[in-house]
Subunit: 347 residues, 2 copies
């Protein structure tokens, strides 16, 4: 760590990159001998050994046990991703294939996101997930109170993204269908096109009062509005079975812990939450312990943002073993997110 930039001279960097590359391919610790055999390094195995010892001392590599080859550490992967890896450019053919996946699909937000997640999982043979965009920045479009009976109904709040909230309600004072329709129309005339943040609770109560209706209806509508802007992001995921193909998850205890995390969804959301708020267009890469301690530290997460036509931001992401083909996956991920953004923009 001390003389970092000095320690990582050109040759060491190349050796490190080759080790990471080879380990990603084979999942086996990489030894000096195999390295000289499979790659043109121009030096002997003994030299590689010396360099490997240096790289290990500097924290880029670790040795699972004394007579084994080397494996990249978190730092090793991080250096590889940030500085050594050459970016993969998606072939035109692959690009087109991704776009085709979006053609036949429905135009609904939820369907598009689910479709993107499935496509991504399939193309990468990895576990893929998406965090849906928050409604916060969206424009209020429409509220509709629907009459079911004298004392019960349904309230729906719509944003440009679609139905943002629906909830059944009861009232203590009887209402008619016409009263609810009238109230809905008044709301929409008053608040249509405003941002949620611009809708005052007092204004909502006034509208209800001016229609001669009980205040409880105002509370119902306010509740539904609050639910719409509430952080109602959901997580969509696909491809759990891909974990099983990875040797690092053949340990059942680990696998269980990962599956549990995936099912809870909260952890997945947390991985990308920070990135979503500070997000530029840059992909997010979290490697090993950067995700937390415990069994997740064998994993990495790649994530890129996508945008709706109203600039609401969601994240499309991959979760896999730390030993993942970062370049290729980042390319496919970015390609899919672009196509998703395009599809969402065209709606």
């Amino acid at each position: 760590m001390s003389d970092d930039s000095v320690a990582l001279n050109k040759r060491r960097a190349f050796i490190l990159a080759t080790i990471v590359y080879e380990y990603i391919e084979t999942a086996e610790p990489v030894g000096s001998h195999t390295l000289t055999q499979k790659y043109r390094l121009g030096v002997s195995a003994a030299t590689i050994r010396n360099e490997m010892a240096e790289l290990e001392a500097a924290g880029y590599l670790v040795q699972p046990h004394a007579s084994a080859g080397r494996v990249p550490s978190d730092t090793g992967y991080r250096t590889y991703v940030d500085r050594l890896m050459e970016p993969v450019v998606l072939a035109v053919e692959d690009q087109r294939q991704i776009r085709n996946e979006f053609l036949a699909a429905s135009r609904e937000l939820g369907d598009l996101i689910e479709n993107a997640t499935k496509t991504l999982g399939r193309l990468t043979s990895s576990f893929a997930f998406a965090v849906t965009p928050a409604q916060q920045t969206a424009m209020f479009r429409h509220v509709q109170l629907i009459w079911f009976s004298d004392r019960a109904g349904l309230v729906i709040v719509v944003t440009a993204l679609g139905v943002a909230a629906q909830r059944n309600f009861d009232v203590t004072r009887a209402v008619t269908a016409d009263e609810l329709t009238g109230l809905s129309n008044r709301f929409n005339a008053t608040f249509g096109g405003k941002r949620f943040s611009e809708i005052q609770a007092t204004a909502v109560r006034e509208v209800v009062a001016s229609c001669g209706l009980a205040d409880e209806l105002a509370e119902i509508v306010l509740g539904a509005l609050a639910a719409s802007v509430g952080d109602e992001r959901t997580v969509v995921s696909s491809g759990t079975q891909h974990f099983l193909a990875q040797p690092e998850f053949h340990d059942l205890r680990k696998l269980r812990s990962i599956l549990n995390m995936v099912e809870e969804q909260k952890a997945l959301y947390d991985f990308v939450a920070e990135a979503m708020n500070t997000a530029g267009e840059a992909p997010v890469v979290k490697i090993g312990h950067e995700l937390g301690d415990g069994d997740v530290s064998d994993c990495s997460v790649l994530a890129v943002p996508y945008r709706t036509s109203e600039d609401a931001i969601g994240m499309l992401a991959l979760l896999g073993p730390r030993r993942m083909p970062y370049g290729k996956l980042l390319a496919i991920l970015a390609g899919t997110a672009n196509s998703l953004t395009d599809s969402l923009g065209q709606r």
Copy 2:
């Protein structure tokens, strides 16, 4: 199979039941010796051996290999479930615990079903899933056309179960917000409270025409109505990680095939689809090869129907290893489905 009822005399039935019971508990093939030691059978191990040989010949038991104990066959489990097992009655305490799970929850259909599935998964330590009720039998409640721009909008169809369909639309002839609102009101006045089957396409077109609007709007509404009654059942599931705890799924190939099936959802739906249509209140039990060939034949499915306030039927189900505690799981499953039906009725 020939002298079935003769072959399964009282003692043999008891021995079979005990073997099934013991195997469900231990997951180890049951031998004559362990059987006499752990249970009061009143006869010696040698006698048990003779009876076991008969039971195997009659197809109730199988032997994994020559020097191993016996394991129940599909027929063995089937006989156990249908004729030998004593039904488990849920303790009042457990009943109350299940009910409590539903108290704090939201009253929305989707939330209730998801909550029931999670609760069921947790209580049984098994994989649980639910098939949502179809809208077909539901009453049409409301249709709303929402104006986004001159040429674009959103149409929403509502049934008593909530929002049944929403889709964005474009129109070639410009419309105003008022026109869409007016049309919505006309639709609701005309069709409100009818069943979907009673709504004629020609009537929809007439309403649109009588408002002086383009026929394309009629097609849009008809499309949304069709989507609402379409067999839009979905499958909600919970507890994938419980598979990993079962020794029968420690084989990764098998596990993968099961996880894959679970993610596809279609297979889960198929397991209970038939039962859903012919359904009485009776629980459905499918054992091993009754589910199909391949890796599912190591599994069993338990399913019971639940009902909404409008008598739409969904299924609540468990999928686990064939070696599952049928009595206990059936009791918890039935209890949860009852609570779910109650909660849905009270909405």
